[in-house]
Each structure stands twice: as structure tokens, then as C-alpha cells.
Symmetry: D2
Subunit: 328 residues, 4 copies
């Protein structure tokens, strides 16, 4: 099945982490980053982040988009990468931070409107806590929902997708698991509020991403966006797609077909030690290969297996999906 | 603070697990079990489970309760310990299993009424899945909520508390984390449906039990019951209370005080290699000692620290709570 | 590649765990169990455990072996399933338990000799600890190594394979990870002492099973035996082979080829909710299908990729292995 | 007990991580950093890292040491924070990287000699792998041991301490767990090679730090150095000491007393959102408070409890240690 693939523009650049301030001496201009994204066969979109240099280079962004014809899948408002938000954005105990979070979010909606994208993304990476006896978990979450609601009410045609993650950079994040995120969407209580599912975040919270899709659908969480990567179920390794959880990706694809998600699949990785462009190229090919497996599958047969709740049948089905040529 | 402590009656007996069919050659009659529970200083209640031998010994149970004056905190309906439920109870794809689950639950409510307890407990240990492509996560959860709703509607003065656990015995359970459980309570949509929080289950899902209490309170999950034990954050070890997560227990106690939970604290352990009576005695003394720490704390000072969101203040507070005599 | 597949005889019977005393009402005699094992196409061996009923049925075992022509891959001495060993076997603080552990082990070697198997297996499931301040980690491990050494010295043609597991049933086991197990083999210091690698145990200790094979080979741990199953990296779920860690199994097979292991692959599962015979049949077919993938691979090409340390090449290789028909 | 406390000099500065390039607008000169360290009551030493700006500011370092009289506990050679080492240092497949790693290490030994410290520290953060089929686990580890051996042989009076960590920044590190690290020390086979134990690294590999100390002692791993912090057992959160694993710290202190470690305790944290000086001050006070608890304990009584292997006695002991005033 043909999918709309996007990539975080920074993924084709260079990376750093807390132990290594740069993994490569190369630096890419926005113009080069756009060209690198555009060079990936299966990618037609780009996700942006309002980091400091984004606004400084807004014209280069505009030109890059115009030149490459890439669509903007979504824009992440940067509520995590500056000292003001170190103790949270919309959930901060500091009213100045909450106010600034709203302003930054509204400004992001303006840009989103200009770039024709349907929703912005909020990843509240600093909204959480590190120590016992450090936070009022109820009050801070109420502030968070209030802030998101205000953001939803501005230019309501543009959606607001909340991305959950159980931890990192905080030891414990507020928007952490699928259930708590659905509950937050309900607390926000605006039709343009929804969820951005990062598949790696579901892996490392002991969720099954297929089941998370089913739950968002069942309980009205409003699935808006998808981030794609892989990991070893213990950390947010942000590896190339499918290189670890191969079978789980197949089941995930079954459930996105079953529940009718037709939006973007944005590659969201940290290719510290690889060429980012090539790593993203790999990820889209993995995803495409997995889609091809499902194209060749019989959806009714799968639905029938699910109704039987018999693991031996599930096993036979998975073997058939993965090893179609193997006949034993 | 004086608390109402209960214990699962089987905890003072003997244990087995999948690797060892018995950890002790001793066997205790129901009569002896009641005497053992009654001999624990701080315990005034007992939790029962409708295991096969429960109904066979119902008169011994009645006599034990009458003789010891122990209250029945709650009764767990056994929806997990027999072949019929191996693929789930209320969520089973087998209508016979769903029907039997309801019958077993209603019968448990009858006993609960007779024994004067305010709610029964449902721990749906077999409701879940083990393999990818084994289950329809949405449909089976709908059946689950439907069944619990029917159970709620019978003798509605008696509550139905859902106990969540992320895994074991299934590789993945449906009633798994605090958020998904609150959402299930909302799907059930009956005022006598609520939650039984097992503190160890919150530990090993990377929840903070204090935060789970706050969330159930904030989002209307209706906290009905508490199970107490400890573990190393990776499995449901069911160890003695406070022996691992000492500080987290203190924060948990702060939040149950703040949110006003006044119900039972039921010791729920598997003292495989200890004398169960002595292990439960230890657990209640740990909990009582931790309550004493909080009795000596200044609740306003703690509330003030939480408002500051400054971890150095949190650290100083925790040191003061734990080492009141240390002056540096 | 044709492999020698075995199965734990109990795997084709029925299961129980600490929450459910039986998952099926069926009971199988030893005679039936042997027939069920023999009915699995790819299986030619069986692993036995000296559980209580093993010696009671030793003649039925002899007859079953004679009738089915199944080989005995190994025998596990039951040092975990009885009250005497609840605090450990060879590492117990109780000299009586240590003495009995040796006697039970020597008796197992006698049977192993009779059945023509090359080594016995020791899985010291109760040798470990549950609580802080409960154990002298150094002294108890010394006793353990002393006991295993004595067992090695009896009938030294028969090997003694130590199976490691990080936890369960103890909260913390002594023979827990690949490194500590190699160090124990060195402490035992007898040529017939080696390691039984349970692939699921490596998964849920955040080991890569391929790397564990490499380390045992590099550091002289003497790999004697293999147990096969799968899990979700957090518990010892004992699922069907390959249904979760598909790619990791491929890399594992590469490394067992590279390091020259030619022994048994014993299916070691807990098919609680499946027909055990069918679940084992599935597992052997999965493993055989994965072997077929590697039969079709170019070993030199893989060796070359490993030398490059370039993840994009690794990704391309894995895609080619898994999706040979996909051409993008 | 009075201990020698040190701190990584950068800990009292400002932090960044992969999501936030700076958590504070403040910047500190080396001179200020030394003053901040010197202002912490219980700290008498400092640990240095040969980051790029270290050599650029070597005179400021010299002056800071002279002015504050702080001792240098150890120096970490920076084998992880530059592009050359992105695929490993001593284990790299690139001979140039291996050669440079040795040169950088020898230069660090020169500085260590000048500053009078007894050993340098190697934390091989980039020596590992991220993807299946990416690495030759045996060959790369052999290169690693060869490189460390060469480093040991230069100025052999200065030790080389290997710091293990299970993952991060790599998805899988080579020097990962206590057992594999002891085996590496044995492979290096030089008397001045030893281990730096980071207590948080033991927590998040499901080790018990007390047991790790016991194993290093038992199997001759040569414990040279200690890094102190805390976390929630799932990531390397680098929090203030004792705020999570309070009781485990007590058992750890018991075992360092029992095995006679008398070296430095270096605070190694990432106080992203706190004032680093104050966070370190807290950590040393926690550790000192925990030492005071053990000063008041009866070592013989503890040794006696360990010999009994009875968890109820362990529980009573722990309650007495933590709540000396509680009498029930």
C-alpha cells in the first residue's frame, strides 16, 4: 500500500547527545537538508521543529519547501529545548512559562497554516518530574490540559496532536502512556485535539503498538499522526524501522488498515553514527516492504484468526506472512 | 495514623509457583488460617478468593469469621484459576466463558453481601493475550466492559473493584495500567465500578504509585481498594512492604492522605520461603512505621515543596523525613 | 541446516502457574507424553527432569524411550521443586541441603549414563535471594561452585551444564547472566563443566543471544546446550520460537554457525493455553524456517558486513534476508 | 564513617541532552567550577574529563587545584565525545581510532601523574553496537582488551579503571555488566587494571550494587573507583544519591565496609534542572547520613543475619536500621 512518508528534517543532519556534543563534523544548511530529504525515493513530506534556528532561517525553509515540493506533515512546537521550559511548558508551576508556551504554540499554528499542514504536534518532553515529592501530579496536569485547550481554540481548523512518551528527558513524563494520553485528550475536550503515536515510545512502555492503535480508536483518542523508528524495548533508541520489532510492525500495519488511519508516517530517528539520509531511506524501504507483506496477506483470514484466540493459528499465520516460500 | 489492615487469607498459608509445586510440606485448614491471620497484631480484616476449596469450606469460613471477629475487606472472584478461563473471563471469545464469568461474579456478590463487605474485587488475570495476531483488542475489551457492567447492576450497593496489572500470567493483560483502567471504569459507566490499586503492580509498570493515586482521583477512577507488597520494579515479586521502595511508600502515603482514601490496606504477598504469618506481620509494621514518619511530618510544608518544583528542596524534605536525627 | 531438536517432555503435557493450578483438565501418562513428542516431525530427542514422578515412573520412561527411539538430550536434576531447596541447593546455608543436592545430582548422572546422554543440566532456580541483607553473595556462590565441582568429578565423561537466568523464581538468581556464569565455570575449573544457554533468558536480561554465544566462545565458557523459546524481553514468557525476536534469532543462528555449536536445540516452553504438542511443532518449524533463511544467505557477505561496522549495510543485509523478493 | 568524596567537575556546571542544547543560560569558567566544588562541605576531591576544553584550559585547571587544595580523584579519558570514536575507541574497526585512543589515554596518564592521582578512568561509551548484524562481538572485544593492556603498561604505577554500563549512548555497550567487566579485566591481565563501579549503572542493569561489590571482590576484579548517583532502575537518570534506592545504598555500604574499599566516592550526576553545586551537596549529605546509619549498626549482627538466610530477620534488621525510634 502506498503511504505518505515524511521525515523530521533534522534526521538527515547530524546528531548530538549528552555524552557527545557532535557525532560528525559535517554541518548542513536548511537548504541542504531539504535537498537531502527530497532525494529519498519514498518520502514526500517533512516534519519541522520550531527550534531556535528555525525562525532564524524561515526564509530558507520557505524556499526549500517551494523548491522541493515537499509537503509539511506537521510542525512540532519547541516546548522542550530551552531553559524556560526546564520544569515544564503548559504544566509549569511558573505562570510565565505557561504563558510563553501558549504564545509559542499559537505562533506555530500560524506557520502551520501558512505551510498548509493540518495539525501541529506537541511533545511535552519537560512536563514531568524527576524526584519523589517534587510535583503536584494533579494540578500540573490540569494546567497542561488548560493550556492545550487554549491552543486548540485558536485557529481550530488546525489540529493539536499530543505525543506521549513514558520518560526521557524527564525521569517520568506526564504525557506518558496511551491510556493517560487518551484521558488528557478527553480532559482537553476539543474536537481538534488528538494523538501523535510514536511507535518506539509504545515499544519501550511495554505497549504493543497495534493494541495502542486499537485503543485510541476504541476510546476516541483521535489518532492524528505517527512517528516511526525502532528500539530494544527498554529505551528510546530511535533506530531504523523494523530492524528489531519486525513482527510487531506487521501487526501494527494490520491495525492501522483495520482502523482506517490514512495520515502521515513520519520517520523520527537519531542516526547518530549513520548518514541520516541513508538511514531514513532504509526505514522507508523497511516500512514499504512490511506493507508489501500485508498487501499479499488475506485480511479476512487474519480477522478470522483473531476471532479464534488460538495461538497456534496465530503462529502459523505469522510464519506464512514472513516465510511465504517455506512449506513445512 | 491508624489504618484498616487486611490480608489475603492464603498469604498466611503455603505457596507454589510454576517451578515448585510446594514450598512447604505444611498445610493449613481454613480454621488454622483464620487463627493465623487473627494472631497478627495490626490486622483486623481478611480478603477471600473464591477458589475451588472456598465454596467447599464455606462453613469453615463462616465459623472462622465469627470466631476471630475479622472483617471481610473484599472477596476476589476467581476468574483466573480454572481451564474455562484460560483465554479470558469477561473478555473471552467463548460466550460460555463470558456467561460463567458473570454467574461466578454474581455468586461472589451474594457471599459479599452475606459477609458484609462493601465491594468485590475482579482481577482479570487471564484476560489478555500472549502472541501478536492473537486477539481483537477492541472487541474483547468491549465484552469485558459489558460483563463488568452487568455485574455492577446486580446488587448495586456492592461495588466492583477492577485490579490492574501489566502482565503475568498473560504476556500482556487488558486491565494493565492506571490510564487504561480508568478508561475501562468510564466505559463500564456505573457508579459502583472502581479500582483496586495493587502498589506492586504500579511499581513494575514504571508508574509511581503516588501519581497513580493522584490520577485515579483527578480523572474519576473511583479508588476502592489497595493491595500492598513490594518488588524490584521488573516483576511482581510480592515482597514485604517497604523493603525496596521505601521512599515511594512515603510519597504514596502523602497522596492517600491528600486525596482522602480511608479504606482497607490489604497485604497481598507470596511469602514462598517465609512463614506467611510472620511476613505479613512484618509488612504491617513497615507500613505502620511509614505512617508514623508521615504523622511526624508537616503536611503544609510538603504541599509547599510540591508547589516549588525544586528537586533540591524535595531532597532536603526526604532526608528530613528519613533521617530526622541527622543534622547536616 | 538440519539440527538436532529436542523438547522438554513436560512441554507436551499440561501447565500450571502460581495463579492457576491447572490450565487443562487433561492429564498425560509418561507413555502418552513420549508418543506426543515422537509425533512431532522434526524432533528426535527429549529432555527429562528428575521431578518426583520421574523416578516413580522410571520404567515407563525406559519403555517410552525404547519404543519411540527418541534420544535423551539431557536430564535436568530437580534442585528447585521441593521444600528442602527453597533457599538454594548447592549454595544453601543448610549443609543438609548442599549434601542432598550433590546426591541428587550424582543420581542424575547415573541415569544420564544409562540413557546415553552426554551431560546433565543444572538450573539452580532457588539459588539466589529475594531481600536486601538476606545473603552472603560471596560465600554462597563459593559453596555453589564447590558443589558443582564435586558433581563434575563423578563420572567425568558426563558433562554438567549450568543454565543461567537473571530472576524467577527468586527475585535475584546467582547464576544470572552470561558473564557471571562464565566466571562460575572458571571457578568450578573442571573440563566437563559448561553452560546451557536458554535463549529467552538472554532476551530478558538485555543480552543479545548472538553476543552471548560469542562471549561463551571467546572466554571459554564451554557451550554445551541450548534451550529455545521466546518472550517480550521483560519476563521469561516461554513462548513459541521466533514469534517475537525474529531477527535476533537469525543473528543467533549466524553465530552458532560461526562458532561451530553442533549440539541439541531443546524446545523449552510453557504452552499454558495451547496444545503443547502443536506449540512445540510450531517452534521447530519456526527454527527450521529461520535456518533455511540462513542456508540461503552468503556467510562471507555477512562476515564482511560485520567488519564494516556500518549500520546502513546491516540494515540492507537484514532486509535482504527477510524479504528476498522485495526489490527496492 | 568519614569518606573521601569527589565530584565530576562538570556536575557543578550546566547540562545538556539530546533534546535540549542547554538547560541554563549560565556558563561557568574552570575557575568558577573549582570554587563551586570547593564550597561543598564534604567534598575534598574532583574528577576531571579530558574534554576538548580541558586541554585548552589546563593552566586554569592547575591554578584551580592549587588554589582550592582539591585532590584529583581520577581523570576520565574522553574516548566517547568526538566523531572519531563514534563507532568505538579501543574496539573500533578503524585502526586509526584504536591508535588515537591509545595516544589519548597515555596523555591522560601523563596528566594523572602530574596531578598525583592513582588511576585514570576509561568509560568506553561508544564501544558497542546498535543493530543486529553490525558487529563482530569477539574480535572487537579482543581489540579492546589489547588496547587497555597497552595503556596499563605505560606508567604502570598509574591504574586503569574500566567503568561498565549496559547501554547508552549505544543501544548495547561492550563493557556492560559486572561479570563481563571482570572477564575483561582478566583478559587484560595486568595488575594495574581494575573496575570503576557506577552505582546507577548497576541499578539499571538489574544488578544489586552490594552484590556487584561482593563479586568484584570474590573474583578478583580489582575495585578501584566508585561513581555515585541514583535512578529508577530503568535508565541512567543520574539523580541525587539515595533518593530512590535508599535501602540498597545501606546494603552497598555494608559490603564496601566488609570488603574493605577505602577509595573515593565520586558524585557523578546530571543535575539538568537543579543548581549543580546544591545537588551535589545534597548527594554527599545523603551518603553521609546513610554512613551514619551504618555507623550505628552492629556489623556482627548483620553478618549473623546474612548467615541465617531468613527474610523475616532481614526485614526486622532493615526496619531497625531505618526506623530506630519505632518500637513495634
Amino acid at each position: 500500500m502506498k503511504r505518505k512518508y515524511s521525515v523530521f528534517i533534522g534526521n538527515v543532519g547530524t546528531c548530538f547527545d549528552r555524552h557527545c556534543p557532535k557525532y560528525s563534523d559535517k554541518e548542513y544548511s536548511y537548504s541542504e537538508l531539504f535537498d537531502r530529504v527530497a532525494s529519498i525515493d519514498l518520502v514526500t513530506g517533512v516534519d519541522l521543529v520550531t527550534e531556535k534556528d528555525f525562525y532564524d532561517n524561515i526564509d530558507a525553509v520557505r524556499k526549500g519547501l517551494a523548491r522541493t515540493k515537499l509537503k509539511v506533515a506537521s510542525i512540532v512546537v519547541n516546548l522542550f529545548g530551552q531553559p524556560l521550559y526546564k520544569q515544564g511548558s503548559f504544566s509549569s508551576v511558573d505562570p510565565k512559562a505557561r504563558k510563553q508556551a501558549l504564545e509559542d504554540t499559537l505562533r506555530t499554528k500560524d506557520i502551520a497554516e501558512e505551510f498548509g499542514c493540518e495539525f501541529i504536534t506537541i511533545w511535552p518532553g519537560q512536563d514531568g518530574w524527576d524526584y519523589h515529592f517534587q510535583a503536584d501530579y494533579a494540578q500540573e496536569r490540569t494546567w497542561f490540559a488548560d493550556g492545550v485547550r487554549a491552543a486548540c481554540e485558536y485557529k481550530p481548523k488546525i489540529g493539536v496532536a499530543l505525543e506521549y512518551k513514558i520518560r526521557e528527558p524527564r525521569a517520568h513524563n506526564y504525557i506518558n502512556t496511551v491510556g493517560n494520553t487518551i484521558l488528557t485528550v478527553k480532559e482537553v475536550n476539543r474536537p481538534n485535539c488528538g494523538i501523535a503515536l510514536d511507535i518506539g515510545h509504545s515499544f519501550f512502555s511495554y505497549e504493543n503498538s497495534a493494541e495502542s492503535v486499537a485503543l485510541i480508536h476504541k476510546w476516541g483518542g483521535n489518532l492524528m499522526h505517527m512517528h516511526m523508528n525502532d528500539n530494544y524495548s527498554s529505551s528510546d533508541d530511535d533506530l531504523m524501522v523494523g530492524t528489531v520489532h519486525t513482527i510487531e510492525f506487521l501487526e501494527f500495519i494490520y491495525w492501522i488498515r483495520k482502523t482506517g488511519y490514512n495520515g502521515w508516517f513520519t520517520m523520527d530517528q537519531f542516526p547518530y553514527r549513520e548518514d541520516g539520509r541513508d538511514a531514513i531511506d532504509e526505514s522507508t524501504r523497511w516500512f514499504d516492504a512490511l506493507e508489501t507483506v500485508m498487501d499479499n496477506a488475506n485480511m479476512d483470514e487474519i480477522a478470522d484468526v483473531l476471532k479464534k484466540k488460538d495461538a497456534v493459528l496465530s503462529s502459523k499465520l505469522m510464519r506464512k506472512l514472513l516465510f511465504p516460500a517455506y512449506r513445512k
